[in-house]
Amino acid sequence: MEVGQLQRSFIEYMSSLFNEGFLDAQFSQLQQLQDESNPDFVVEVVSLFFEDSERLLNDLTMALDQPNVDFKQVDAHVHQLKGSSSSVGAQRVKNCCVPFRSVCEEKNTEACLRCLQQIKQEYLLVKNKLQTLFELEQQIVAAGGAIPMMQ
C-alpha cells in the first residue's frame, strides 16, 4: 500500500477511536508529548498501561474469587485502574471503573463480578484497537512516510 493511503487509513482509524469514545483528549496529550527526542513515548506509556491493567485485572479476579471478599482491596485495585486508564486516555475503561467503585462500596460481589466482566471486555477492545493503531504507524514508517499529527 502506498504511503498516502496508509496515512489516510491511519487518520480515519484514529478519528473513529475518538468518535467512538475509546480514546479521549488525554491520548492526544500523550501524542503531543512525543517528538524526535522521545519518538516512542506513546507506545511506551501504552505498554505500561497494558502491563498494569493485566496485572490489576488478574488481581481483581482473584480478589473477587475469595470466600470473604476484601472490598477495600478490590476498591484499591479499581482506583488504580481508573487512574492509569485516565492517564493514557482509555476513556471507556476509565468509565467502567466508576460504577465498579459504587458496587464495591455496597459490598455487592455479584455486581462487582459483572463490572469486572465489563472492564475486561472494554480493556481487550481498546488494547486491540491501540495495537492496530501502532501497527498502522509502523507500516507508514516502513513505507517511508511520516505519521500524521491529529488535531
Partner: protein, 229 residues
Amino acid sequence: MGMAAAEQQFHVLAVDDSLIDRKLIERLFRTSACQVTTVDSGNKALEFLGLQEHENHPNPPHACPHNHQNLQEVEVNLIITDYCMPGMTGYDLLKKIKESSSFRNIPVVIMSSENVPSRINRCLEEGAEEFFLKPVRLSDVNKLRPHMMKTKCKSFQESEKIVTKENQESPEIEKVISEQSQPQPKTEVDTEQIQQIQQFQGNNNKRKSMEEGPSPKRTRPRYSGLTAV
C-alpha cells in the same frame, strides 16, 4: 529584569506510586526543560531531601545529582506529589515539608484523580501552591514556572511573606472563582514578570494569562490589586 529565564534549570521532585503517572510527569517537566527526579513514595521523597534516616538503604534510592554524602545540598525548586499513596499520603508529605526549616519554601503541588473540595482546601491551607486534577497536562505544568522562579530569588520570598501576613488579616478578600470559597494566604506573582517568563517559553499557545480566572478544577484565589512587591 535581566533574568535569562530560558537558561534557568529547575529541578523538580515528583512523587507518585503509579509508574505510568511518574513517566507522564517526568515527560511533562522534561518538555519544559526541567530536570526531574521521580520517587514512588513520600518516604523516598523525604530520604531524597535528606529529611529522613533511611534504615534499609545505605545509599539513597535515587542518585543525588550533587553529593552523595550531604543530601542537604540537593536543590529542588518544586515538589509535585500525588495525594493518594499507600503509607504516606501527599498531604502527609506536604505537612512534613512545611514543617522543615530547610525545605518549607519549596513550592509543593498536589495532584489527585479525585475532585474532593475538602481535600483540596486542606492541601491549600497547609501550604500547597496548586492542586491539580489528574491527568495533569502541559498547560498545568506551564503554570508552575512562576512558583519555581520564586525559589531562585530570595528577596522575593521575603516580601511574599509580608504580603501574606496582611492577607490573613484582611477581610476584603476577593471571591474565589472556583468551587471553593475559602480565603487562601497566597499572593499572585506580578503579571509583568509572568509575561517576561512567558516570552522565554516556546510552545505557549495554550497558556492562559494570569488575568483569566482559573478553570473550574483549579483553585487559585484572585486578589484584586495585590501584587508581589
